[in-house]
Each structure stands twice: as C-alpha cells, then as structure tokens.
C-alpha cells in the first residue's frame, strides 16, 4: 500500500517517536524480558535505533516493510535475532521484541486519530507492518540456529578423532570424508597425542574413505609420518585408491620412506608382524 501525503500512521509514528519508545520499553519490561543492567541498556539503544529505522522506512513509499528504505530496520532485526539465537533465547522471546510494539502504537493512534474509518485503516496498516517485522525475526532466528548447529557439528567432527586401538601396540585411524588442510592438521596432531598416551608404536592411517587428497593434505600426512618416526613410532598408510595414488605421484610426494598397503587388513598383518605377532589358522573345535 502506497503512502499518501499525510498518512495518519506515518504522521503519528514520526511525531510521537519518543513517547512511543518510552511506552514500548515499559511494555518490553512488562512482558518479562530477562537481562541485567548492561543488557537493558543495550535493549534501550536497540529499541531506539529500531524505531528510528521504522520511521526511516515509512518515510519512503512503502508502509509494508518492503523496499530498500527498510534495509536498516531489517539489519537491526537480523542482528538481534542472531545474537539472541546464539545466546539461547527462545524464538518467542525474540519475536516479542517486535510484537510488543503494537500496544504503544495502537494507544497513540487511538488518542491521535478521531475519525473511526481512518483509525481502522491505520490499525490495519500498523498490524500488517509489525506482523511482517515480527515474522522476519523468527526467520532470521531460525537461520542462525541452523548455522550454530552446523558449526557445532563441524567442531565435533574435528575434535572426535576416531582412533582405534586395534591390538596391543597398534592404533588405527580411519579417515572419512573430504579432508581440508586445517582438519587434517587437527586430526594428525591428535593422532600423535594418542600414540603417546597409548604407547602404541604402530599407527595405521587408513584413507579408504577419503575421496580426494590435495597437496596440502598429502604434505600434512607425510609430516605426521615423519613426526611419528621421530617420536619412535611407525606409520602405515592404507586404503590408497588408484585415483589417489595417481594424485600423489603427480604431486611429487615422496612415499619411499612410508609403508603403504592397499587395505587396512594388509596393513594390520604388517603391523602384527612388526610387533612380533602373527595370525595362524586354528583347528576347528571338535564337537
């Protein structure tokens, strides 16, 4: 809906900005937003800025909350929703910030507009605008929650190195998924720590589940093998698929110092032999 010159809603909001702000803050406090003094101050500032941004938006052609003049208001709402999402507020608490604006606005409209038809029109426009802004916060909130969850999943993946103690003195590290440089570094450092903690002098790094390996990742692997050797442990790399073998050769990575095996099983046999054991076929037990 286009604003005509002298749209009552726009007039009232502009003329009574300070008063509406004061009433709105009271309303926010009443609806029980938690917070300490510092947060209250922050909310006061944010509220003031948001109300000013609304008036900026209304100064343009759209009272619907769309259009470029509303960018600032949307920015403020996005930031607020994001910060509340990371702080653990519920979606409702976040949307309440916007919805609690209705009461003060309606009160002003009622006292400033005498004509019933005009008042009804203004109520309607205000409601649509505030509802739209309120819904926007829930969407922004949702996006942030999803980002938080995705990040936590990434961190969990990085921190949980699936190092398995296959046998006495033998560790296995099955790597799965695409490796990037920083994840590889974290995982490799963790492997070295586990070698120390378990006292296992053989570690099998299995890359069957790794689709591709680039230069950096290959270098990290080689450095880890070298570091393990310095510490007194040996590494065997298993599960090198044909494509990865080609990549490694093309990258010019020197594998002459490292034992490599096609499968984890083969690597395990080699590891057993090195640690002084071997597997023998046993006799089936007599019934």
């Amino acid at each position: 809906m286009k604003a005509t010159a002298g749209n009552p809603l726009v007039e009232v909001l502009r003329r009574h900005e300070a008063g509406i702000l004061a009433d709105w803050l009271k309303e926010q406090a009443r609806s029980g937003t938690r917070g300490d003094a510092a947060q209250d101050n922050e909310m006061r500032t944010t509220s003031r800025e948001f109300l000013a941004a609304i008036n900026d938006g209304l100064a343009g052609d759209d009272v619907d909350g769309t259009g470029p003049r509303w960018a600032r208001a949307m920015e403020i709402l996005s930031a607020l929703s994001a910060s509340r999402a990371t702080q653990g507020y519920s979606p409702s608490e976040t949307a309440t910030f916007v919805f609690s604006l209705k009461q003060p606005v309606f009160a002003r409209l009622r006292s400033e507009i005498a004509d019933a038809a005009t008042l009804a029109e203004a109520f309607w426009t205000a409601t649509r605008l505030i509802d739209r802004l309120g819904l926007f916060t829930t969407e922004a909130y949702q996006r942030t929650r999803e980002e938080v969850i995705a990040r936590q999943q990434r961190e969990l993946l990085e921190l949980s190195t699936p190092v398995v103690e296959l046998w006495k003195d033998i560790l296995a590290l099955p790597l799965i998924g695409t490796l990037d440089s920083s994840r590889t570094q974290v995982v490799m450092e963790s492997l070295l720590e586990k070698i120390v903690a378990s006292g296992a002098s053989i570690a099998i790094i299995d890359i069957t589940g790794v689709p591709t390996v680039d230069t950096l990742v290959a270098q990290h692997l080689m450095k880890t093998v070298a570091a393990a050797r310095l510490m007194g442990a040996d590494c065997i790399i298993s599960g090198i698929r044909p494509q990865i073998a080609q990549t490694i050769v093309h990258l010019g990575v020197d594998l002459s110092q490292v034992t490599t095996k096609a499968s984890l099983a083969d690597a395990f046999l080699v590891a057993l032999a090195r640690s002084g054991s071997r597997i023998e076929a046993g006799q089936a037990e007599a019934a």
């Binding site: 070295l192 070698i195 006292g199 002098s201 570091a227 050797r229 310095l230 510490m231 007194g232 640690s275």
Partner: protein
C-alpha cells in the same frame, strides 16, 4: 657446578633432561657421558627428553654428538619421550636426527637397547 645426573641401570646409562639447557651444561653432559660409558663399560645410553617442550638445533646436535660418541665406544643410544609438538616442529625445522634411534618411552627404549621386542 650444575650437572645433569647420569643413572646406571645394569649395563645401560639413563639421562633425564629436565632443564632448559644452556651451552655449558650441554657440553658438560657430553663429557660426563663419555667418561661414564668407558668407566661403567656401558652398552647403551637412554636419553629421556619427555620433559623438554622445545628441542632446537643445538640440542639436536648435542643428541647427535652423544649418539656418535657412544657408537665409537661401542654403545647404542636411544632417545625417548619426544613430545608431539616437538616432533612436529623438528620436522618443520628440517632436523631429522639421522643415526639416532628413538622410542616412545623408557620401557620401550630399554627393550630396544636390550635387543628384544615388546610383544
């Protein structure tokens, strides 16, 4: 004068480096070790560096020197307890401690010196 203690375990000598070594201390250690290998007719030297959070090229050279000297005196050297951060840094530094055998801990180091494997 401050010296690093050298312990004797059977035919082997055990040195635990716990302090941030400066030049004089390192040189004294090398001298002391050489003397003890001969005096005790030691067959091996175990150097425990599990307390070191930094190993630079100076310490690296010292370790290589000790290994070299011991070999001349018909004794083996094994270095144990290198920390992961130190190992990673040494690889980056380009120091490979060639000719020095390493083991994860004192127990494995002793097994290595004694010529048997820990099953």
């Amino acid at each position: 004068m401050e010296r690093i203690p050298i312990l004797r375990m059977g035919r082997f000598l055990l040195v635990t480096i716990q302090v941030d070594m400066h030049d004089q201390l390192a040189l004294t250690l090398q001298d002391d070790l050489t003397e003890r290998i001969v005096a005790d007719r030691a067959k091996g030297v175990l150097i425990d560096i599990s307390s070191l959070d930094v190993v630079d090229s100076f310490i690296g050279r010292m370790i290589s020197n000790i290994a070299g000297m011991s070999r001349v005196l018909d004794a083996q050297t094994v270095v144990v307890g290198m920390r992961p951060a130190v190992a990673i840094t040494l690889v980056e530094l380009g120091l490979d401690l060639a000719g020095v055998r390493t083991a994860l801990n004192v127990e494995k180091g002793m097994a290595l010196l004694q010529g048997s494997t820990v099953a």
